[in-house]
């Protein structure tokens, strides 16, 4: 196989944040408003507000086929068009943007990098989205554990207000917008979560902003129609929004030169770069900005990125991108990290593109038990299959790990894992699905390890098989 080489040689999202191979993470500092502007910041916002109508901005994003970076990979421009059409004066009524910086998916830590060091890149993306979708109020929902990052964002928002980006006077000190003879004003607030993974699910996030427990809502109605406080609402991931300044400043074509086409006929492409946070048994864990489509092997072995497996050990597997997506097996190291990964390598999808790498010494039963505990702990408890199934799976995994299980327990585990949350519609949100994929892929890709830990169930001839058979 020909060696993979990056298409994008100058970083886009991490232009101001040193990341290997372009810079040493030791030199990272918080980029202030002044420095951001000095290095070409808020140029895209000015271009959009002064020369483009909101529809043109949406159109450009749609053309770029920017896909959501929060896990589902839904095309952002298309999502925006689900908002109700504004009236003839361009007034769409009160609507909201909720920025998803909950980032609680285990093994995911990419959004933190942006909030930590280049907050204005995110804020410019927010302003662009608000302009394109005629949104007046944006809530930056950041997970509770990100104390420092919330403080950085808070300070950056203050700077943005002081410099007239946000505030009553309108974007960019009240610059008149292209299509209407008046300015477009946006307010932006930080809303801190308080330690609940489920609040990353978009409707749970809305409930949480409304001051309620984070219980996902039944859909429809979809948030674009009836979201926060019952108003039309857009929810986007931090990284998704951080791509907008580049797309607007350089145009959709420039974005489409990055990343990769789909290798599956008729499937949507994976354009653009992606932040990939690699953790686990590699020499240099961290966040790297790569073109979508980079083979996992390159990401792990290249000196530019992770610099090989820790202590020269062999690769045993990797979480595809946040544990909900499932696990890539020992023979899937060449998987291309793009949005097709799910269909080609039997995982749920690319997710957050943050792989955790396992070396040959990793106990996959312990990994499965850890993951099962996570989902049991984080299930919100609304839907029976998820609430009960996640608890059973955890118990079974503990039993297997402790050597108390029989082979029929394995069958039971696989049956639960395969049936819970299978779409469409046995549960309200995708958490059960994530649980299902995570446990099922481990059981299926490492059957020997599990078989070795269980005693066989003998079924004597003539005796009925069922719950009573021991």
């Amino acid at each position: 196989m020909a060696a993979w080489s990056p298409k994008t040689t100058t970083p886009v999202l991490t232009a101001r944040i040193p990341c290997w191979p372009h810079g040493d993470p030791k030199n990272r500092r918080i980029v202030s408003y002044d420095e951001y502007v000095r290095t070409g910041g808020y140029v895209a916002l000015r271009k959009a507000v002064e020369t483009m109508t909101p529809e043109q901005v949406t159109e450009e994003v749609k053309k770029s086929v920017l896909r959501g970076r929060g896990g589902a990979g839904f095309p952002t421009g298309v999502k925006w068009t689900f908002l109700p059409k504004p009236d003839a004066n361009g007034d769409g009524g009160q609507r909201y943007l909720a920025i998803n910086a909950d980032e609680s998916e285990p093994a995911t830590f990419k959004d933190r990098l942006l909030c930590d060091f280049d907050p204005h890149l995110v804020l410019e993306g927010i302003a662009l989205c608000c302009y394109a979708c005629r949104i007046q109020t944006a809530y930056f929902y950041i997970r509770g554990e990100y104390h420092h990052q919330a403080a950085v964002m808070e300070r950056a928002i203050q700077e943005a207000y002081q410099n007239g980006v946000f505030g009553k006077q309108g974007l960019l000190r009240g610059t008149r917008t292209k299509n209407r003879d008046q300015a477009w004003a946006v307010d932006c607030y930080v809303h801190r979560g308080a330690g609940a993974y489920i609040c990353g699910e978009e409707t749970a996030l809305l409930e949480s902003i409304e001051g309620k427990r984070g219980w996902p809502r039944n859909k429809p109605p979809f948030p674009a129609i009836k979201g926060l406080f019952g108003r039309p609402t857009i929810i986007n991931n931090v990284e998704t929004l951080a791509h907008l300044p580049f797309i607007i400043a350089q145009g959709a074509e420039a974005f489409m030169k990055q990343g990769t086409e789909s290798s599956i006929q008729g499937a949507p492409p994976s354009y653009g770069t992606k932040l990939m946070g690699v953790s686990g048994h590699v020499n240099r864990p961290g966040v790297f900005e790569c073109d979508l489509g980079i083979p996992l092997r390159t990401l792990i072995e290249s000196k530019d990125y992770c610099g090989g497996m820790r202590r020269g050990k062999k690769f045993k597997g990797a979480i595809a991108g946040g544990i909900s997506m499932g696990v890539l097996g020992p023979d899937q190291m060449d998987a291309e990290m793009d949005f097709d990964i799910g269909r080609k390598y039997n995982v749920l999808g690319l997710g957050t593109a943050c792989p955790t790498v396992f070396d040959e010494d990793t106990d996959m039963v312990a990994v499965a038990r850890n993951i099962a505990r996570f989902f049991k702990h984080e299930s919100c408890g609304q839907c029976t299959p998820c609430r009960e199934g996640s608890g059973w799976l955890y118990q079974l995994m503990v039993k297997i790990e402790e050597g108390r299980a029989r082979s029929k327990d394995l069958d039971l585990a696989l049956e639960i894992a395969t049936s819970m949350g299978t779409m469409p519609g046995t549960t309200i949100c995708g958490l059960a699905d994530g649980n299902n994929w995570a446990i099922r892929t481990i059981l299926n890709k490492y059957p020997d390890e599990f078989q070795a830990r269980v005693r066989r169930t003998f079924v004597p001839v003539g005796i009925s098989v069922g719950a009573g058979a021991r």
């Binding site: 830590f109 104390h147 308080a194 996570f374």
Partner: protein, 185 residues
Amino acid sequence: MAWITKPSATMKVPKRAEPYLGAELKDRLTREILPRYEHKQGALIPVLHAVQHVWGWLPWQALEEVASFLELTPAQVWDTASFYEEFWLQPKGAHVIAVCRSVACEICDHKQITDACRAKLGIEPGETTDDGKFTLVELECLGLCEGAPACLVDERMHLSATPESITRAIDDLRDKPGHGHAAPH
């Protein structure tokens, strides 16, 4: 985390004369936080954060005061406060050591960090030392995976922890004041 039962029938609520939600705090919240949300319940989580920031935890009386401040029922406030893991409904130690136990940290041996804390403090995860100085908890993924095993020590990131580094961090904190949430940025 989702289900914490409340012994309503037998529950005795300790009350004190001085309110937890003082006039000054109320004033600040009314000016800065309430206008951000379309209705008052929206401000609930920021208000709970603010109260906890002052007192280190959320006593029942404080929840009742928050309820009347936001024109909600105490049940609504309890419902939300009990759902989120970061709201402390019991007092916690002056300093909180939170060790990550999710998958990336587990495979990088988070156990030796928890064990070092156990040995150093003489408590199990979920417990507080007798002198009220330290609370040890194990949390799910903190999003610090590149520095696995990772911890949060009083809201500060502690990356690539070793038994020695976490023991030292505990020693450094021992004589520092604070109620866990006091660390200003």
